[in-house]
């Protein structure tokens, strides 16, 4: 497997050095692995901190900036960051108005953010947490780790970020984040397996003629494996899976997200099919975003996330954002 890297051990640090060079509007602490918006802490503003394993770029570091995250902590590839990083990030961005941790529902992320929250509170930083768990491919029961956090993370970070930017207080920003998570559902498919730098070969075996329905963002398999389907068939399956769970009465935000190795030509084509199914099901679309936002290294495939919105949420979605990975209105 050929990769544009030096050695697996320095992949994350190398990427952060490159990110620092490309984005002088961010403060990138390569040694401690924390990405902070340069003007932080912003007086009177609630800070948003997220993080997770690397390999999902632009999530999360690419969403740091005015209107979205205050700071992000990238872990090793597909491995959650450690509490020290989160504590450092919280301390760097807290203006006294408190910090919201946005945590994807994976055991490692949850445990490390929990530990970081304890440490931060010991230092007098007020912490609130929201758990993102939007993936309908996973059974949510007492006997599983629960639903994974995937594409909805972008909606939560953007919309809660806009609420924070307006100066809303911590409990309000937390409530908005929770509401967005509860209003969002996702479903993903993989057309190829993912190769991590540490392993150097595909982490699971997906034959050329098959696809995996219900994939997670680390290539964890989901519901079932089938013979390759057309874009039209995949859209039918994915959107129905989401709508079975969400059943929106209001218009939705649509995220058609690439997993990293699927070109925009295919993603736009897939979006056309997604919009068709939504139309057939009578679901009104308020806004659509198509691109690679919550990726899985070199995995081919896509996910669909829908978020049911009201006027207020739509206003927050449309609010200006200025980050490396998402930028409009400025």
């Amino acid at each position: 497997m050929k990769m544009l890297i030096n050695v697996p051990e320095t992949v994350v640090a190398d990427a952060l050095r490159g990110m620092a060079a490309a984005h002088p509007e961010l403060t990138v602490d390569v040694d401690n692995r924390v990405i902070v918006r340069r003007d932080a802490p912003v007086a009177g503003k609630v800070a948003l901190v997220s993080g997770g394993g690397s390999g999902h770029e632009p999530l999360h570091g690419g969403f740091v900036g005015p209107g979205m995250l205050s700071a992000a902590c990238p872990g090793e590839v597909f491995t959650s960051p450690v509490p020290d990083q989160m504590l450092r990030a919280a301390a760097a961005v807290d203006s006294g108005a408190g910090v919201l941790f946005i945590v994807k529902n994976y055991t490692g992320d949850v445990l490390n953010f929990d530990m970081a929250a304890e440490l931060a509170e010991d230092e007098g930083i007020q912490i609130a947490k929201v758990l993102v768990n939007d993936d309908v491919a996973v059974t949510d029961s007492l006997y599983t780790a629960g639903r994974r956090g995937t594409g909805a993370t972008l909606f939560v970070e953007k919309i809660a970020g806009a609420a924070a930017e307006e100066g809303q207080p911590l409990e309000r920003v937390e409530a908005v984040a929770r509401q967005i998570n509860e209003s969002s559902r996702s479903f993903g498919v993989a057309l190829s397996a993912v190769t991590t730098p540490a392993k150097g070969s595909p982490t699971f075996d997906l034959p050329p003629g098959e696809l995996e329905l219900g994939i997670g963002i680390h290539g964890e398999p989901g519901r079932e494996r089938r013979a390759m389907m057309t874009s039209r068939e995949i859209a039918d399956f994915a959107v129905h899976a989401v709508l079975e769970d969400l059943q929106p009465r209001n218009p939705v935000l649509v995220l058609v997200n690439g997993m990293g190795a699927t070109p925009l030509l295919e993603l736009y084509g897939f979006n056309a099919e997604v919009q068709r199914v939504l139309g057939e099901r009578g679901v009104a679309v308020a806004r659509t975003l198509v691109g690679n936002y919550v990726t899985s290294l070199d995995m081919a495939g896509a996910s669909v996330t829908l978020c049911q919105v009201d006027e207020e949420v739509l206003r927050l979605w449309d609010a200006p954002v200025r980050t490396p990975g998402l930028r409009w209105g400025v």
């Binding site: 597909f78 491995t79 450690v82 490692g108 445990l111 490390n112 530990m115 599983t144 994974r148 982490t203």
Partner: protein, 199 residues
């Protein structure tokens, strides 16, 4: 009686076996996890060896608390908090004594394992590190060798289980037939204990 030096040897022996077995742990993690268990633990235990040399803690409890804190700070994922909590809580339960008895260690380790179960929410049979640790603690009353054997058998026994915690749980029935990487590394930790005792 077991002194700080014994606990340092325990950590060093575990670091060496994690180093040796890193590729196997990662290979076990590949079909049911995300193929990084070996490299993550390797990074953590390398840091543990380094910090123990640098700070030279002088009681058994202090050795384990420091090692646990170092794992939390360097491993990430679920393994960092879980292994870190195991060692920290075991160390705390040992208190400030300069030397501890084997029975005292068994009790402290039981407290550590309980803390891991509380943190991760896993119980025996969920296909996690708990499936190696619980039988090991039970057998520790007999001997270090018995604990090592019990942990190894516990790890092997995870193969036919269906995962209910951690990333492997997303696979549902498809997690059956794979040995759990966390139980496997937990068996290495217990084997390190036997090695430190010269068994």
């Amino acid at each position: 009686m077991l002194d700080a030096d014994f606990f340092r040897r325990w950590m060093t022996a575990t670091a060496a076996s994690v180093d040796r077995e890193a590729e196997r742990l990662t290979a076990l993690d590949s079909p049911i996890g995300d193929a990084d268990h070996g490299s993550n633990l390797q990074r953590g235990f390398t840091a543990v060896t380094a910090v123990l040399q640098k700070e030279n803690p002088d009681t058994p409890g202090a050795v384990l608390v420091l090692a646990g804190r170092q794992l939390i700070s360097t491993v990430g994922g679920a393994s960092g908090p879980l292994y870190g909590t195991l060692l920290r809580r075991t160390g705390k339960a040992l208190g400030d004594d300069a030397e501890v008895g084997e029975e005292q260690l068994a009790e402290a380790l039981r407290a550590g394992v309980d803390a891991v179960m509380a943190l991760g929410g896993a119980a025996p049979g969920d296909k996690t590190m708990i499936d190696a640790l619980v039988p090991a603690v039970e057998a520790l009353g007999d001997s270090f060798t018995a604990a090592r054997t019990a942990a190894e058998q516990g790890a092997l026994a995870t193969t036919p289980m269906q995962a209910r915690k951690g990333r492997a749980s997303y696979l549902g029935e498809r997690s059956i037939g794979h040995q759990d990487p966390g139980a496997t590394s937990a068996a290495l930790l217990v084997a390190g204990l036997a090695e430190a005792a010269g068994e």
